[in-house]
């Protein structure tokens, strides 16, 4: 029984394994093994490339595929224009890449490839990945802010209409909330993706263990868990989209701060 339980380890799905003997690859002393995580990044990039390529037919009357790609670019374009204004257009390539990369990674990680004996790997459930993405976004905010406004960018920490005596109190709070942004940005995505995948795995262990324990347990525990799993799967698809959207939205809001101060 103990051996059977060990089979379903909810955390095993997050394990990173070097593929095809690449564990020894190094670059300037750092290990750059081509892992299953890197493989799924590659798959995400290729799938995203093919997806956008399908929208490059540049027809005046778009087909379904082109329409789909254009609605994604239009969606990002509208979001940036709504949040930043006309100046937001130049960030479309970055925010589009960010949104689509995260969205495709989340969705590809949910593919039921286990049926074919493959293991989809959701690299957005690793904070090393989400952290780097968050740091890139945050760096863009800092670069744009200091490039456009110079040291005046620090006035971001003093909101409009703050009474002068309150400034010494407000400014540190604003500064801390500003510095927390990359962490909240990266952790939110990581936690959401990981929690969903763990939940699915735990529920599947209920299904498997319950069914193995006999017909009664199978009906009482396994079946409800299975039904719940189907619902959670739908929810996870939603979360995959929402988290990508939230990441892109917050990035655009932060860029807005840098672009327009406030």
């Amino acid at each position: 029984m103990a051996a059977e339980q060990a089979k379903v380890d909810p955390m095993y799905q997050f394990t990173i394994e070097p593929l095809a003997g690449s564990s020894g690859w190094e670059l300037a002393g750092y290990n750059i093994a081509f892992t299953n995580s890197a493989l799924w990044m590659l798959i995400t990039t290729v799938v995203l490339f093919l997806f956008v390529l399908g929208g490059m037919k540049r027809e005046l009357v778009p087909g379904r595929w082109q329409m789909m790609v254009e609605s994604f670019t239009g969606f990002i374009d509208n979001m940036l224009e709504a949040n930043i204004g006309k100046a937001g257009r130049k960030y479309v390539p970055y925010v589009f890449s960010l949104f689509m990369f995260i969205l495709f990674a989340n969705l590809l990680g949910l593919l039921p490839l286990g049926i074919f004996g493959l293991h989809p790997f959701t690299f957005t459930s690793h904070f090393t990945v989400t952290g780097v993405l968050a740091i890139i976004s945050f760096s863009i905010v800092l670069l744009v802010g200091f490039w456009k406004h110079g040291l005046h960018f620090f006035s971001l920490f003093v909101p409009h209409g703050t009474p002068l005596p309150m400034v010494p109190v407000i400014a540190p709070i604003e500064f801390i909330s500003f510095m927390v942004r990359p962490f909240s940005l990266g952790l939110r995505l990581f936690v959401a993706m990981m929690a969903g995948h763990v939940l699915l795995e735990v529920l599947s262990s209920f299904v498997i263990d319950g069914t193995n324990a006999g017909a009664t347990f199978g009906l009482m525990v396994g079946l409800p868990s299975f039904i719940l799993m189907i619902g959670i799967c739908a929810l996870e698809l939603l979360v995959a989209g929402i988290q990508a959207y939230v990441f892109a939205l917050l990035t655009s809001l932060y860029i807005n701060d840098a672009e327009n101060l406030h």
């Binding site: 997050f14 093994a33 995203l48 490339f49 956008v52 005046l60 890449s97 993405l133």
Partner: protein
Amino acid sequence: MPQIAQLAETWSSQVFWLLVFFGITFFVIGKGMVPKVMETVAQRDGQIAADLAAAKAARDAADEQEEAWRVRENENRAAAQAIVAKAKDEAAARSETKLKAAQTRLDKKLSEAETRIAEARAAALTEVETVAVEAAQDIVKTVAGLKVTKPTASKAVKEAMANG
């Protein structure tokens, strides 16, 4: 939790490959392909806007022509009405002159007839007077045996007739 347990051995590979693949995504897809897709959208929007503008211009032109047609139509109608009115006036004037001519002819006939009647009456009166004078002379001659001259008799008759 492999994310933490494997952190030391895998972070560099995670960061490296993420930068590689996200970099490819950004530079190839984001920078290379997305602007073209958006350009297509912009082109289409421009085309649609141009078509709409052309349609609007055409409609305006049509409205203008219709307006011009309406003005011309109104002018024509007014001209037609003027012609009709003129014809009516002319006809009325003609019939009036005809009526006037007929009236004068009738008046003339009437006055001629009246004159003739007056002459006849005057003639008749004179005759009656003559007869009366002669009758008076005869009566006086028979009754009184007097011979009355014609002027005296006619004077008396005239008096009697004037008194009724």
